[in-house]
Amino acid sequence: MEYFIQQLINGLTLGGVYALIALGYTMVYGVIQLINFAHGEFFAAGGYMGVIVLSYFAGLGYMETHPVFCLTASFALSMAFCAYLAIGVEKIAYKPLRKESRLAALLSALGMSIFLSNGLMLTQGVYDKAYPSELFQGGLSFGLVTVSYLQMLIVCLTGALLVGLNILVFKTKIGMAMRATAQDKTMSALVSISSNRIISLTFAIGAGLAAAAGIMVGLYYGSVRYDMGFVPGIKAFAAAVLGGIGNITGAMVGGLIIGMVEIFGAGYLSGEYKDVFAFIILIAVLYFKPTGIMGENIDDTRV
């Protein structure tokens, strides 16, 4: 039983991270109907920016005196950096191809993904880069179950970001414009919503969330690598599909499910094949219910 609860907490942590990445996929798919292959690279870039900023502050010696400030600054700067990166990537690789065939846009997205991950490799080195480890030692014990402070931080921060995003999308004017663009670009343009601006904004928000996820993963596992975006990227995509692509709530639920499945699969079935479970779910969902758990109308061209 303790083992089960422990795994449940681990699954919640991992699931939250997947949910954050999956949101980027689902939002971008919602507005331009394209899988952003480079999304995993935004996640990796976020992780790298986090370690760069944190070790800079650690080098200055701020880490001992102002840990909260350092952490906030690293999250803020890293999310801003990835948003900035994503806006440019969209302008270069996706915008000119919006009217071309889908294959062209997909290939260009794939090229961007390879380009970015190798760009990270060239600027940051081939080897793992370690996070400053003095943060978040210890945790709380409830009987035999231990929840580390880091896990608490990840779960709380993920929850806050998800709530914030929900408010942004469903309660504000910008969110309304985003939903309108996702539904019908021509009609939303007629009521003077600039679809270019909304698409840039969507990319920026998605990349910002992915960057936050990247720092969390970096803190959790202790290091980042230039190709760390690839596998979580596919898993998060699986989460987005599971929840119904284009659906924000669905992506959150899907992320949690994929995280849980992975942790429980690794814990009870086989640790070596933990990466396979998410792919099997992805294939099964696409085969039996391509609209996902919460997906609505999907017309023929999408699936």
Partner: protein
């Protein structure tokens, strides 16, 4: 025209400033708590110089300022085509064939090694071309079938001692079966879903190869795969056969060449057959193809199976040549590289893909110093090709005419 150029320069300036903002945090913030600018600016200036030259050439070409270069080049092209035209095509095929045959005699071991690589990748590229170029389905897990072929030969040979020629069809058949297993559930999907599911399948195959210790020896790979052997008749003491192990690179080159020629002929025949037309119709418009009576499911499955078949053949040759297989050789990046060759050369175009393979295998061998930039350049190539020349270096020639094209 002037307006357009102004726009191009403005966009370029914004883009370079954006790049500067992107590079500095990555290069200029150090863990010892210092900020530097010099390295960022050096890198940025290199990029600036490189892109500036490209842009100048582009703008000058658009504006017609490069006529003094393009006119003679066109003239040379014209005279070449005038020289080529009078001979029938088979003459040139014979010339190329003869050149390919004498190639290992006139070059060294290293060049032959590179050439074998090129030939194997031509098989892979043409196989992927069937799926991506003809049927229009983006397959990102293609290298898995190559892996299945290679492992089929390696496992059968090392564990059971089965010979190469018996394993070759088996490798192709196993790869085809794997292709059908992947294809069957995925073919109901279209476009981007298919891409990501095939990506997932490719990863699954790699993970299985990595973890199935009893069969594949896991990440250590399988050592000691036997090379290709042939029976040679010997006429001493009457008549008998003697086993001849093809260990020398030169001989293996000829086997790879034969395989590549077979694959080229096969893909060419497929392309210009009823099946090829059906694939192209599916690529252009699946709904319309179905309405015209094309059984889209069967043809898509067939495209998958054919692609996997060629990859399986190439895989068996790969295992026989390296005499060692490990999951490391079958990562996603390999898939991406083959895809990049197809895209660069031109989807659906056989000479184009051959050119693409040569460009992406032989050029990095020449430019050894830029080894670490290889994948970066591949990625950039894919984006640039899609933006400026989506049909590839040598665009595919269309079979038949389309209704909207004028006579």
């Amino acid at each position: 025209m002037i307006q357009e150029f102004k726009k191009i320069w403005k966009q370029y300036a914004i883009g370079m400033l954006w790049l500067l903002g992107l590079l500095w945090p990555l290069l200029g913030i150090h863990p010892d708590g210092t900020l530097t600018f010099q390295k960022t600016f050096t890198v940025w200036l290199y990029i600036l110089a490189g892109t500036l030259v490209c842009l100048f050439v582009y703008v000058a070409n658009q504006g017609g300022q490069l006529r003094f270069i393009t006119t003679p080049v066109d003239g040379v092209k014209k005279s070449i085509s005038l020289f080529v035209k009078p001979f029938p095509r088979w003459v040139w095929f014979v010339v190329i064939f003869v050149l390919a045959v004498i190639y290992p005699q006139i070059t060294g071991r290293y060049a032959t090694d590179v050439a074998i690589n090129v030939l194997l990748y031509i098989c892979l590229g043409l196989g992927l071309n069937v799926v991506v170029g003809l049927a229009g389905m983006l397959d990102l897990g293609y290298i898995a079938f190559y892996g299945v072929g290679a492992y089929t030969y390696a496992v059968l040979n090392v564990t059971y001692g089965v010979g190469f020629w018996f394993c070759l069809p088996l490798a192709a058949v196993f790869a085809t079966i794997a292709g059908c297993i992947v294809g069957y559930p995925t073919l109901r999907m279209r476009g981007d879903y298919l891409a990501i599911v095939t990506l997932g399948f490719g990863e699954i195959v790699r993970i299985v190869l990595n973890n199935w210790m009893e069969l594949t020896n896991g990440p250590n790979g399988i050592l000691g795969v036997k090379p290709v052997s042939i029976l040679i008749p010997v006429f001493e003491n009457g008549f008998s056969f003697e086993i001849f192990w093809v260990k020398k690179l030169q001989f293996f080159y000829y086997f790879a060449l034969a395989l590549a020629i077979l694959v080229i002929i096969g893909v060419h025949r497929l392309n210009y057959s009823r099946i090829g037309r059906a694939w192209e119709s599916i690529r252009e418009d699946e709904t319309a193809a179905e309405l015209m009576g094309v059984n889209t499911f069967i043809y898509k499955l067939l495209a998958y199976a054919m692609g996997a078949f060629f990859a399986g053949l190439a895989g068996a040759f790969f295992a026989a040549r390296m005499r060692f297989v490990s999951p490391e050789s079958f990562t996603f990046l390999e898939s991406a590289m083959v895809l990049c060759m197809v895209v660069l050369g031109g989807m659906g175009s056989i000479p184009g893909i051959m050119l693409g393979v040569v460009a992406l295998i032989a050029l990095p061998e020449v430019l050894r110093d830029f080894e670490s930039y290889r994948m970066l350049i591949f990625g950039a190539t894919m984006i640039i090709m899609m933006l400026f020349r989506p049909a590839g270096l040598i665009p595919a020639q269309r079979v038949g005419k389309r209704s909207e094209e004028k006579e």
